[in-house]
């Protein structure tokens, strides 16, 4: 059996060698045993590298990086193990400290979560302040196309209904004074909902009109959406969610299936943000309604009618809106008796409710 095999790292020549353990490790070719050594390695520069199970494979930090000596003979292997003090020192293939990786990863993980939790909302707020309102328009239009495709409902445009809607929105805008002109559209849909897009577009889904019992209820919802527009919540949410998912995606990389956990994490995070957003929008709605001399409590009743009972079934951690009971209580606490004129008269209200009838 070959005691030792040597590769000089400059060519793939395979040399069977004989070793001499002098003050340095000397490597002689067996074909020319009396000639000059093929290599002479200081013992403390010898490093262990990956090799087959039946051999000890070493390199040398002072030799070409890929020079290799393979020891198959157990006694030669024992000699090397005995004579080389830094076999697993730097520059070799020594095992990495798992503890170091674990601690560093933990630190990185904590830093990333902290950035997602504290840094991203801060960054989103700052960026949203800096962006001119005109930049929201394209963002809103991009989302708009998708919303229209997904909802697939046609816009409701009966002229008396539109006139009533314009009147209602005009009154709200009169006191709310949005920096972007609000642009409400009623869409045919079975879901009772309303939402604001970046850029001022406000969608009211037709079932919400069916469910609303008074103009004040609907006005409250619209004022709430005005709050989102004026606070630029849509824009901030886009920045926040994009940044957070990028940050969290950083961590799990290829742990297969971690995607769903990421999604859950993002939902919890963005729900936590948007609860604050919803509370601010509610407060905005209250102030708008009060300035019009109208009560704010009807907004609470309407919301309760729509999602109040369903709310108990849904995980409140995941739910986007503040707990229904809290919201309703807060809106009722701030309620005032009506002092101003009704926002719409009975016939206008009926036209608006039937805006989808042709």
């Amino acid at each position: 059996m070959e005691a030792a095999v040597f590769f000089d790292g400059l060519s793939s020549r395979r040399r069977v060698v004989r070793l001499s353990f002098a003050d340095r490790l000397e490597i002689f070719g067996v074909e020319a045993p009396d000639g000059a050594p093929l290599a002479s390695w200081p013992y403390d520069a010898v490093r262990r590298v990956d090799g087959p199970a039946n051999a000890l494979r070493v390199s040398c930090t002072t030799a070409p990086p890929l020079a290799r000596l393979e020891l198959r003979d157990p006694s030669a292997r024992a000699d090397i193990l005995r004579l080389c003090p830094a076999l697993d020192g730097p520059g070799g293939a020594g095992t990495v400290s798992v503890w170091r990786i674990a601690v560093a990863s933990l630190a990185a993980g904590v830093a990333i979560i902290a950035m997602a939790w504290f840094g991203m909302p801060l960054l989103a707020n700052q960026l949203a302040e800096m962006m001119p309102y005109s930049w929201e328009k394209p963002l809103g239009e991009a989302v708009d196309g998708q919303v229209r495709t997904l909802l697939a409902g046609h816009a409701c445009e009966s002229p008396p209904g539109i006139a009533a809607l314009k009147k209602l929105v005009g009154q709200l805008q009169g006191v709310a004074d949005l920096p972007i002109a609000p642009d409400p559209v009623v869409l045919q849909s079975g879901v009772p909902n309303a939402f604001a897009l970046p850029g001022g577009r406000i969608y009211v889904l037709s079932t919400l009109l069916t469910v609303s019992q008074t103009p004040d209820e609907l006005a409250g919802v619209l004022a709430h959406e005005f709050g989102h527009v004026t606070h630029r919540d849509g824009l901030r949410r886009v920045i926040r969610d994009g940044g957070t998912s990028f940050l969290i995606g950083l961590m799990f990389g290829d742990v297969t299936g971690a995607g769903a956990v990421l999604m859950a994490g993002r939902m919890v995070l963005s729900a936590a943000y948007s609860r604050a957003d919803e509370e601010r929008a509610d407060a905005f709605a209250v102030s708008v309604m009060h300035r019009l001399g109208r009560p704010a409590a009807p907004l609470g009743s309407l919301l309760h009618r729509i999602i109040g009972s369903a709310d108990d079934m849904v995980s409140s951690v995941l739910h986007d809106h503040p707990l229904m009971a809290d919201r309703k209580a807060r809106l009722e606490a701030e309620d005032i008796p009506p002092t101003g004129p009704a926002l719409l008269d009975a016939s206008e209200w009926q036209s608006l409710k039937h805006i989808c009838n042709r």
Binding site: S12, R148, G253, S316, V317
Partner: protein, 400 residues
């Protein structure tokens, strides 16, 4: 053992062997998977490296084992650099997408093509990293050629796949693999692939045809069902046959993979060195069925745990009565998340064992090298490249 270069005796094929033990590899990947969990996934760079170190160092060509010289921290740095590059690209991508959406809803879909091309580029660069970390007899492998030139080839060939219902696949594979091998060198010894798309087609065409059949039969059966007032016997027969073929798909896939490996490995040449591969067609069937069986087991266990968890949570809510807010407690969310992560980790372990190590083992053992003397005195050449390509591939993987 191998003769010195001066030998003139025509040598028998040199053996290529795999000496790794299944148990060792299993322990390695299970330990790595647990560490991945503890480290938020960051351990993946070291796990990938350890996996390769194991496979390489247990693969012997003519008695000398390969060596993998890459390190986990190179992959980590590559990943971080890739993030710095990908961050702005994703941002630009997002803005372009926004602009495209404005013009027409969902118009940004073609932009995915760009990211796919980028992924191909990354794959090429990642291969280059792996090759320059692969050492045999003190000389490293390396690679020339441009990642972009590979990416557009891959894209153009990919365009042919759909209209030809997969018929172009053998020629695409051949073109891409030939490109890669043509730009691969061992020291100063250039590599190439002596295998053609026609040869690959000859080996797997019937599998392609059989693979299409279940879908055709299913569709045929459904159509027959739709148009007949009562399902005619022919439709039932077609559906049954389709189901049978669906069960046969893993067999077909395993056979196709085996034949493809044999075709590929048997075509590898470095200078006058020739690789042969007599991987039997059936040799991967057991591997794939083991993967399917264990995966099913893991899914079953996961379903049982998740079901039990849900039952406990629902029971807990009822006790608190209907007035209380139906709130999933934080520990419940955490338990779901942990069991989900465990599922992912377990599937990752299975994938590494069965689609990586077992396949590697069987392919390597089926190979031999003729005229290994052609590599007896190869001059070292080639520079190391960074782990950037691997980082890109990793980054694009989670990005989209």
């Amino acid at each position: 053992m191998i003769m010195p270069a001066t030998s003139t005796v025509p040598a028998a094929p040199a053996l290529v062997s795999f000496t790794g033990r299944n148990g060792d590899f299993r322990r390695l990947v299970v330990r790595g998977a647990v560490l991945e969990l503890v480290t938020f996934g960051f351990y993946r760079f070291w796990l990938t490296t350890d996996t390769r170190r194991h496979l390489w160092s247990h693969t012997e060509i003519a008695g000398d084992a390969l060596e993998y010289t890459g390190r986990g921290r190179e992959l980590l740095f590559g990943f971080l650099i890739a993030l710095a590059v990908l961050g702005p690209i994703f941002l630009v991508y997002f803005l372009i997408g926004l602009e495209a959406e404005r013009i027409k809803a969902f118009a940004s879909l073609p932009l995915y093509l760009f990211l796919f091309a980028f992924g191909q580029f990354a794959a090429y660069r990642a291969r280059r990293y792996r090759l320059t970390r692969t050492v045999w007899r003190g000389v490293r492998f390396w690679m020339t050629g441009s990642g972009w030139s590979y990416a557009w080839r891959s894209m153009l060939w990919g365009l042919l796949l759909v209209p030809s219902i997969g018929l172009a696949y053998p020629w695409r594979t051949a073109a891409l693999e030939r490109f890669k091998l043509r730009h691969t060198l061992y020291g100063n010894l250039p590599g190439r692939l002596d295998a053609t798309g026609g040869q690959l087609f000859g080996r797997i065409w019937w599998i392609w045809l059989l693979g299409l059949l279940p879908f055709l039969l299913f569709a045929g059966g459904l159509v027959a069902n739709l148009f007949a007032s009562h399902p005619p016997a022919a439709a039932i027969v077609a559906m049954l046959l389709g189901t049978a073929l669906l069960i046969a798909l893993p067999f077909l896939h395993a056979i196709r993979r085996a034949r493809e490996w044999a075709w590929w490995a048997g075509g590898i040449r470095f200078g006058s060195v020739t690789v042969t591969c007599d991987l039997r067609s059936g040799s991967l069937i057991g591997v794939y069925w083991a993967l399917i069986g264990f995966s099913a087991l893991v899914f079953f266990a996961f379903a049982a745990v998740a079901g039990g968890l849900t039952a406990v949570l629902v029971a807990g809510m009822h006790v608190r009565g209907p007035v209380s807010v139906g709130q999933v407690p934080i520990w419940g969310m955490a338990a779901y998340a942990v069991s989900y992560l465990l599922l992912g980790v377990a599937l990752g372990v299975l994938a590494r064992i069965y689609t990586l190590q077992r396949v590697w083992q069987r392919v390597v053992r089926a190979c031999a090298v003729i005229n290994i003397e052609g590599a007896a005195d190869v001059t070292a050449a080639g520079e190391l490249v960074s782990g950037f390509g691997e980082g890109l591939a990793d980054g694009l993987d989670f990005g989209f």
